[in-house]
Amino acid sequence: MAVSMPSQPGAVVEFRDVVKCFGQTVALDRMTFTVSAGETVSLLGPSGCGKTTTLRLISGFEEPDAGAIEIAGESMIGKRPYERNVGLLFQHYALFPHMTVAENVAYGLRHRGWAKGEIPARVAEMLQLVQLEGFEARRPAQLSGGQQQRVALARVLATSPKLVLLDEPLSALDAKLREQLRLELKQILTSVGSTTIVVTHDQEEAMSLADRIIVMNRGRIEQQGSPDEIYMRPRTPFVAAFIGRANWFHGHVGKFLGNGLAQLVTTAGTQLAIRYPDAIQGASFSACVRPERIAMGGPDASAGDPSDNLVPGKVVDVVNMGAELHYVVEGNDGRIVVVEPNRAGPRVRNGDQVWLRIRADDCVALPRSEP
């Protein structure tokens, strides 16, 4: 008899070394992760990274080739979708077009064995939760995209599933509505206290909804952690490049500056102080700096802190995004993007010579990503 590893207590979902192939393509390569009760986890990655496969494996539309999948401590191998207590919010809602809003919300209740008499009250309760009272008799086609989304959410949550899966929940909506519904969605999910997995390729969706982000690439987990960790402390060049904008400096370790700081000598000869306690003399590496962590000053700028770096450059483009200004600065190491809030006062203009102040702590040292 095979000895099964003990499942982690409190885990709602547990993946252990799950492998899934489609023909020659390996969609998931020994994927291992857990989701604890009440947690909202986001699976984030580009298309083809295996996040949708993971979702389909959890909901039971696909079976793994190897590995274990458990939901609430129970193995899901061989279980049909209707034998799992999982709710799935489809990207395009998948509302039943020939049924009314109330019938849609009641569908899961009818099939999950709710008493006939209790269903109308539960439907009303769910529609109240998503603020759609009075829409019971409408057909999905008579609703706006945002309303359809909320009906779909009510339908998913009605049966109180152990786990809620959201497949690109906001991607079908336009930008303005997306922001509003993101807040609503988060509020509703928090208020019902559900354990949630959000599958998305949109980093904003992941950052704003999730307590923890699992960044996936080519069927493997690149990194997992809180949104802040993922954003500020990426551990691979892929994560740094995929999430948010990044400025890159490529070079090798020069001298050690003490206090956990090392000097990066870039290929263009720029010397940067970087927090890099594990640096090895002469090793080549890349440093990544987020655009909003760079401060821009005129020619008279001076380092506020002795460990701060000052890099000269010339502004070649200014893009006004409304809330913030994006500056493209041409330096010795290529173009650097700087983001600053759109405040009142004198502005740096196109063609100005500037000094960029980069704190050593804001530079993330990563394995060399490109020459």
Partner: protein, 273 residues
Amino acid sequence: MSGRRLDDCLRLIGLTMIGTVICFLVVPIMVTTLMAFDARPYLGPLPPPALSLRWFSRFFSDDYFINGLGTSVELACLSVVLSLGCGVAIAVGLDRMSFAGREALTSLFLSPLIVPPVVTGFALLLFLAQMGVINGFARLLCGHIIITIPYTIRATLAGLAGIDRSLTEAALVLGARERSAFWEITFPLARTGIVSGAIFAFAVSMDDVSVSIMLTDAKTYTLPIALISSMRANFDLSIAAASVMLMLLTLALILILEKAVGLNRAIGQGVFR
């Protein structure tokens, strides 16, 4: 300039062709309809000097025609039901398949559309004789199911093709078994396709000569067969009257079902995605 003249010329040719085709489609039917109401007891030149219903009453007083009409209606209804049953099942099966043989299998099921009906009829006659089936109605029923099934399969496939797979998946995740998901989601959404398949099947069955003529016997024959053999024996205008009634029957059927399906669509706002 000359390019523009060429355009005008081509447009004129196009309009002429459309007009001609419409003439050939409509004029013979109009002539037939007019002649069916001819009061003269013989086949005379157009236009008829007076109108009457004599050919209609002649049709209904002829047992040969009435017998054929009865068989035709009975046959059409039965073959629609059976061909719909098989056709929907086959279409659902084909729709769910993903392997490479799916296309080949679809073509196979639609092949009665390509095989000449006379060949189908003759082959079936030989086959059924070998099997010992000599009952005329049973033979006709087999033939009519074969010729109507491509229509029910194809229409159902078209109906199923418009249904987003995620709807079925949503039903399954919400706790519905495959069977419930089919009857509650897939079937109602494919209904438009299924109903139009039934209309086509009925019309094809009512109309068929080539296959039926091989499979009739002395006592069991369809209305089109009765019309043809009566026309050979003594050509009179009760055939025109029968044609008018066949046309009206088909028209009524299409209107009724269109209304039924159309109404349904109106309720669903026409967006069965």
